[in-house]
C-alpha cells in the first residue's frame, strides 16, 4: 500500500491538491505534514500540477513508502 508525505508548505500545494481530489486516496494532516495513502497506485500527472521541473523532481522530498514505477517529467506513479 503506497504512502507519500509532503511538508505542508506553499510550493507543494499543487501536488497536495491533486492527491486530495484523487479517488481512493486517504489524506491525513499533522504537525506540518500531509500524508496520503492508497490501496491502489498513487499517481500524479505533472500537467495537473502546473509545476516547473525544479519542484516537480523534488516531489518526493517528504518521503514515500512503496515502489516507484514511474518518475519522469510527465508522471509520478508509486505502487
Amino acid at each position: 500500500m503506497p504512502n507519500i508525505y509532503f511538508p505542508d508548505v506553499p510550493e507543494y500545494q499543487p501536488l497536495i491538491q491533486v492527491l486530495s481530489l484523487a479517488k481512493d486516496v486517504q489524506c491525513e494532516k499533522g504537525r506540518g505534514y500531509v500524508a496520503f495513502k492508497s490501496k491502489n497506485d498513487i499517481c500524479i500527472q505533472r500537467e495537473d500540477t502546473g509545476l516547473f521541473e525544479a519542484v516537480w523532481f523534488g516531489a518526493l522530498v517528504g518521503g514515500f513508502e512503496g515502489k516507484i514505477v514511474r518518475f519522469d517529467d510527465k508522471e509520478l506513479r508509486i505502487e
Binding site: P10, A35, G58, F64
Partner: protein
C-alpha cells in the same frame, strides 16, 4: 532535536559572508565584467611581494575586491607570472561545475529580471528565472568560468521548513553516511525519510 537555526550560546555567531575569493588569470576581463558590466564598486586592492613568503615559492600578487551588497565582497587573486591552473578554471561538467558557486541576494523576481538585462548586456549568457522550492534564481558564468547565481527568497522559511530539513539530513546521514555506498539510491533515502516523517507525525511533541 537540534535545528540549523537553534542558537548555541556557547559559540560565537557568524554575521553573513564578508568575502569569497578566487584565483584569476584574466584580471582585465574580470574587472571589465564585475566593475564595468555588473557595476560593482571596487573598494579595496592589495598588491604584495609574495606575502613575505617569496622564498617558499609564493608568487607576487594582487588581491582585489568587488562590493556585492550588504557589506559582502567577492575577491580575486592574480598571481603574477603563474600559468592558468585548470583545476580552478576548467569546465567541471554541468552538475559539478554548478555545485561550487557564488549566489548573491536579490530582493525579488523583478530585481532578478533587471539583473538578467544587465548581464545579457555584458554578452554573457544567463538563464531565465528558475523557480525552486522557496527561492528563485538566475545562473551565469564570469569570464573565468566561475559559476554565479543571483537568488531571491520567495517566502520566509517557517518552523516546518526547519523541522523538515532536520529530518532530511537525518535520512541522508542514515542512508549514506560517509561511505558513498554504491547500492544506496535516492529512493532508499526517501524511504528512510518517510519512516522519520511518519514517526514525527505520530509523536506528540
Amino acid at each position: 532535536m537540534n535545528t540549523p537555526t537553534e542558537i548555541n550560546r556557547n559559540i560565537p555567531q557568524l554575521h553573513g559572508v564578508h568575502h569569497t575569493a578566487f584565483p584569476t588569470w584574466k584580471p582585465k576581463s574580470t574587472v571589465e565584467f564585475y566593475r564595468d558590466g555588473l557595476g560593482l564598486k571596487m573598494p579595496h586592492a592589495i598588491t604584495a611581494k609574495g606575502w613575505g613568503r617569496s622564498e617558499n615559492g609564493h608568487p607576487d600578487f594582487l588581491h582585489f575586491f568587488f562590493e556585492a551588497g550588504d557589506n559582502s565582497l567577492i575577491a580575486f587573486f592574480y598571481y603574477i607570472g603563474t600559468k592558468p591552473n585548470p583545476t580552478f578554471t576548467a569546465l567541471r561538467g554541468q552538475y559539478l561545475g554548478l555545485a561550487r558557486h557564488t549566489a548573491w541576494t536579490a530582493r525579488d523576481v523583478a530585481e532578478l529580471e533587471r539583473w538578467r538585462t544587465v548581464i545579457k548586456r555584458t554578452g554573457v549568457k544567463v538563464t531565465p528565472v528558475v523557480r525552486h522550492e522557496t527561492l528563485s534564481s538566475i545562473y551565469f558564468q564570469d569570464p573565468n568560468g566561475y559559476d554565479l547565481e543571483i537568488a531571491c527568497q520567495d517566502r520566509p522559511l517557517q518552523e516546518i521548513d526547519v523541522v523538515d530539513t532536520g529530518l532530511t539530513i537525518e535520512a541522508m546521514i542514515q542512508t549514506f553516511g560517509d561511505d558513498n555506498p554504491d547500492e544506496k539510491t535516492v529512493y532508499d533515502m526517501w524511504h528512510k525519510k518517510a519512516e522519520l516523517v511518519r514517526k514525527y507525525m505520530q509523536s506528540t511533541s
